[in-house]
Structure formats: structure tokens, C-alpha cells
Symmetry: C2
């Protein structure tokens, strides 16, 4: 992975935070992982209202860190479609644990109880299912 800045420490938590420790990067990962979104325009339309310059910056950063990759859109040569790399797909367990945590601690969580139970009791199956869907897209 290319590195421009010296890392703050070798701690594994720090390694991750230097890549996606901000308010937006994991929302782009979420869109690719769970929402079936693949284009800049789709990411831009998320409910959190990401700004164009922040989105462009995060896409570039995630690409540099090799979590996502872009390719010309076969349907429209002027735009790109993004997808998760293996390194990006390996974040599925991290994302599911975050969903579980928020599902438990946010009284207003929209995550269905049945889904939270699935994650808790059939973790590996849920991970495989998400991986399978990502291959077929």
C-alpha cells in the first residue's frame, strides 16, 4: 500500500484509523457493501448528505489504501464504477460488529431485530452471504 505520511504508530487500531478513521469513509464502504451502490452519483445521494469535495477525497483515499477500486463504467465511458477489493471486503466483520453495537445501543436503530439476531448467532453465514452478493454484482 502506498504511504505518503509516516504512520503515527504500528498499533493495529491506529493502522485502521489512519485509513478510515473519519466520519465518511465507512459510509462509502457501507454503500458498496450493503446498498449495491457503485457510482459517485449514487454515493452522493446518501441520506447523510456528503459534500462533493469530501466524497471525491474519500474515494481517492480509499483507492490509495486499496480498499476500493474503480473501472470505467461499461454503460457510460465518462464515469467510473467502484467496487470493494478483497481488503475492502475483509471489513465485513468490522461493519457487522458496528451494526450490532449500534443495534444494541441506539434506541432508534432501524436494523430489524431478526437481522441483529442473525449476526449474533449466524455470524459466519451472514458474512458469506454478503460476500456472495458482492461477487455477483
Amino acid at each position: 500500500m502506498p504511504r505518503v505520511k509516516k504512520r503515527r504508530s504500528d498499533c493495529p487500531i491506529n493502522f485502521a484509523l489512519e485509513i478510515f478513521g473519519d466520519k465518511w469513509s465507512l459510509l462509502v464502504i457501507r454503500d458498496l457493501m450493503f446498498m449495491g451502490k457503485t457510482t459517485y452519483g449514487e454515493f452522493l445521494k446518501g441520506p447523510e448528505g456528503i459534500a462533493t469535495n469530501i466524497l471525491a477525497n474519500r474515494l481517492e483515499k480509499l483507492e490509495t489504501a486499496e480498499l476500493i477500486v474503480k473501472a470505467p463504467d461499461p454503460d457510460n465511458g465518462t464515469r467510473f464504477v467502484y467496487s470493494l477489493t478483497e481488503r475492502g471486503k475483509d471489513l465485513i466483520p468490522v461493519m457487522l460488529e458496528i451494526v450490532s453495537w449500534s443495534g444494541k445501543h441506539d434506541p432508534k436503530t432501524p436494523t430489524p431485530k431478526a437481522m441483529l439476531k442473525q449476526i449474533a448467532t449466524n455470524r459466519q453465514a451472514v458474512i458469506s452471504e454478503i460476500r456472495k452478493k458482492l461477487i455477483s454484482t
Copy 2:
């Protein structure tokens, strides 16, 4: 949990990012969870070199979000000791998945292979072990 700002969305990933989506919050959680650190001075001495104003801000934010709680230090009335709340301890699985991910994708990771294997194969036991240590401190 007290909220001053309107949340950006109800998405569970967003819920978490609004609390700890930055480069520093999870380092404080790490210090409390894995390093046995409990005081401002100890957090300040981390290898990442957190600045005093950022540390003070993150401690306050994590306290407001009820991930950590502070109490007067019985050994020194002028300072506080911090500890993880239940909500904070419930981040153990998130933290372990991040450690696993970095352990796999950072060629320079200091995490011992044996530890990564433990997390992968004895997840629940590792979580219980960390919880047990946190109770006894």
C-alpha cells in the same frame, strides 16, 4: 444519550461514526480496553502523540456518549480515573475485528500471529477474557 446535534441519518454505521468516527476516539478506547490506562496523563503518553486539546475534547465526547465514565482518583483528589461503561465494553468485538483486519492487511503489524489466531478461532473466549480483566481493574 444526550444529543446536541441532529443526527445525519438513522443508519447504524452512521450512529457509530457520529460517536467515534475520527482518528483519536478509538485510541482512547484502546488504551482503556487493552492497555490498562485510566488517566489523562497516561492517555497523553500514547505513541501517536495526541494533543492535549484533542484528548480533552475526545474524553468529553466519549463521556457524553456514555462510552466512558470518570470518577475522582482515590489516590489523588485533583485528578480523575476513567473507565469503560457497559456501552464502551460492548465495543470489544468491534475492536477485535479491527485488530484482525489490520493484522491481516498490515505487513508490519506487531500483533502476534498466535493472538490473531486466537481471535479468529476463540472469539468468544477472547472477548470474555478482556471483559474479565476490565472488571478486576
